[in-house]
Amino acid sequence: MLVLNKVTKTYDGEKKAVNQLSLEVAPGEIFGFIGPNGAGKTTTIKMITGLLPPTAGQILINGVDLATSPVAAKRNFTYVPDHPEIFSAIRGIDYLHFLADMYDVSAQTRRVRIEQYTQLFGIYDFLGEIIQSYSHGMKQKLVICGALLPEAPLFILDEPLVGLDPLAAKHLKEIMGKRCAAGGTVFFSSHLLTIVEQICDRIAVINQGELIACDRPERIKNGSNHSLEEIFLELTKDA
């Protein structure tokens, strides 16, 4: 579903934020992407979503090259950023209709899905309000609902659980699981290692722009009794 082939991002021709990063995420996987602050997680996600072009390397989404066919590639994923900074002078419902039009979601389908997801996250009653009046958590929920709306094969989330209440976080984790069970793929970054360990099929650890581990959680732990947090700290101790 997602292939990164020797992806590199260099700033000012010198500083390598991401260096020769290669990984593959298979359909049906929940893939955790972890690393310390400044490791290159957000830069990598920005490259995958087309927000930043890579300096070198190739990104394939559902077999489509993001560089050569960006529109076709972007139809295959939706994205939830770490900060819900969205155009907020419109109503929540207008934001969702805007996204539905962008991903060609039919009038009938969007009606069902908007109701389903916004009811689940408890923001249905506020869809008539201007987004500016939403709290941080409500904005985050709206962005998540917007990203769920097209039901694209790949769901990319950057720190999705920050700002969510425990119930919404539980719902999101359940949705991620259901998506993958139905053949979809979830790629997400997080600092909450217990959750990553709990729900991810595979994990990639990035440090100083380079991939230092990529495997199933139990294999990364290599049979030890240490928690993923301890292993992570050991792996990234030079950071």
Binding site: A89, L99, E115, G128
Partner: protein, 521 residues
């Protein structure tokens, strides 16, 4: 009473900190200095207007009417200023929820907010009033009396407009003008204020002396404080009594009004938390239409962007109005020739494209929400095209209004309209493209206040500074086609602009698309 003054101080600090951050110059010492400097600079034209009024009436042999005229003018000015300010302080602040928890009477809370309005109006009054008052005092040989009376009147006269504005706001809220109509209110009263200032300037320069005196005397009869204040400044101290009586009456009325406004504000805060209805069903729209709508809404829903755009768009209309009132567009002048008329209307219709350089901030306006459209399944060119389309739509709408006004005002020929329109359309399309190139080179997305995005933006200045270069196009056409008619020059200049647009469009589609993709989200 101590609590009341603490509350007023708190409200004052809150008001000016918002004003300062709203200016886009930051909240530091430099920002404060720039705000004070701006306010001082703003005083200059108002003081000049005040002195101008005095000299106009002195020239007519009726200097005392300068006082009457200024009283009427300040009444209208301060009323138009106070209404949106009261709306803003009472109905668009979220501070009532914590203010209502304080152990302070309701009327204190309302009066503390109205005190801010009074201070603001007193400031305007003093700037407008003192010059006339001092000059009248000098004329009568009572400089000290002129100064003291002027100061006294300056601080007392805001009371009638303040109670009038409070009643107006109460009446407007009763008929439903509240809730989400902040933009509408600020835009309407902003334009009314601008119209009043410009109208006064034009009225003073164009109206005949007899008409000006008759109008001032006539209007003064409808507002009795005018007569009291004119007599007071002329030496009749007894007139302070009705003025003081009116002030006490106004103060009492304001206390009642402030309590009522406070309850309306609280009620609105409660109703705001109730869910508003919406429709889950919406007919799908095309991607381009949605992007265009989004770009239009970014301007329309942000008061700073909206006011800046509308005020600039209205400039050509005001030039036309001023031309008429100043007598430049009299029947004698209109008869001077079709060429002159064509140049006037083409100039006015080109003004939106030349002055309202929306494309140069098309990316900047998005700020931190810029990432949204970049991750969507739309081509970069469609993304850019929708921004160009937004500029063309807004500017051409304004140009079409100017064309209609020109057709109503001037006897234009068909060839003048067609060639002129072609030139205006091509100029608008060209500038919508070329300005975007500048914004892609200098995107500037990390602004903290909308004013910083459009006012303190070097792109806007660079774009406006480059406008004189456009004169090369008609000059080149004249050079290539010596002896050609004005219609032909306009047509071929338009054609040249069309060819330049094709070049810039190609540049955008190739080089700039890649550059745009490099802009981080």
């Amino acid at each position: 009473m101590r609590k009341f003054f603490v509350l007023v101080k708190f409200e004052l600090m809150d008001f000016f900190s918002k004003y300062q951050s709203g200016s886009g110059w930051g909240t530091g010492r430099r920002g404060k200095g720039l705000v004070i400097l701006t306010l001082l600079l703003l005083m200059i034209p108002f003081t000049q207007m005040s002195i101008g009024v005095y000299h106009r009436f002195y020239g007519l042999g009726r200097p005392e009417l300068a006082v009457a005229f200024m009283i009427l003018l300040t009444f209208l000015l301060t009323t138009l200023t106070a209404i949106p300010l009261i709306y803003s302080l009472f109905l668009y602040r979220n501070d009532f929820q914590y203010l209502s928890a304080l152990p302070i009477p309701e009327s204190y809370l309302g009066m503390a907010k109205l005190s801010i309005v009074w201070l603001y109006l007193a400031g305007i009054n003093l700037v407008l009033w003192l010059p006339v008052s001092i000059l009248t005092g000098l004329d009568l040989g009572w400089i000290d009396r002129g100064l003291i009376t002027g100061f006294l009147i300056g601080i007392l006269t805001p009371f009638p407009p303040l109670i009038f504005s409070t009643l107006a706001v109460l009446a407007l809220t009763l008929v439903g003008v509240k809730g989400r109509r902040k933009n509408l209110i600020s835009t309407f009263f902003g334009f009314a204020l601008l119209g009043l200032v410009l109208g006064t300037q034009l009225f003073l320069t164009s109206e005949s002396g007899v008409g000006l005196i008759a109008l001032t005397e006539g209007w003064s009869r409808y507002y009795p404080p005018t007569a009291w204040m004119v007599r007071l400044i002329s030496g009749s101290r007894a007139n302070i009594i009705p003025l003081m009586g009116l002030t006490v009456g106004c103060y009492w009325g304001l206390q009642t009004g402030a309590g009522r406004l406070y309850r309306i504000a609280l009620h609105q805060a409660e109703t705001n938390s109730a869910p508003r209805s919406f429709s889950l069903f919406e007919q799908p729209k095309s991607k381009y239409r949605q992007l265009l709508r989004r770009n239009l809404l970014i301007i329309g829903k942000q008061p700073v962007f909206l006011m800046n755009t509308l005020l600039t768009l209205v400039v050509p209309g005001l030039i036309l109005l001023a031309g008429f009132l100043a007598g430049d567009f009299t029947p004698e002048n209109l008869a001077e020739g079709q060429n002159q008329l064509t140049l006037v209307w083409v100039g006015l219709a080109s003004a939106p494209a030349l002055l309202v350089n929306l494309s140069v901030t098309a990316i900047t306006r998005e700020g931190k929400a810029f990432w949204e459209t970049k991750v969507l399944p739309v081509t970069t060119w469609d993304n850019l095209r929708s921004r160009i389309g937004t500029t063309i739509l807004i500017n051409l709408t304004a140009s079409m209004v100017m064309l209609i006004l020109a057709l109503l005002c001037f006897p234009l020929t068909i060839s003048s309209v067609i060639s002129g329109l072609f030139f205006v359309v091509m100029l608008t399309v060209f500038l919508a493209h070329s300005d975007l190139v500048l914004n892609i080179y200098r995107p500037f997305l990390n602004w903290s206040h909308p004013a910083a995005a459009i006012k303190n933006n070097l792109n806007v200045i660079l774009s406006l500074a480059s406008r004189p270069l456009l004169t090369v196009i008609p000059v080149l056409t004249v050079f290539c086609l010596p002896g050609a008619s004005l219609s032909a020059i306009l047509f071929y200049s338009g054609l040249l602009l069309f060819l330049l647009t094709l070049l810039v469009r190609k540049f955008l589609q190739t080089v700039m698309v890649e550059k745009f993709d490099q802009i981080g989200g």
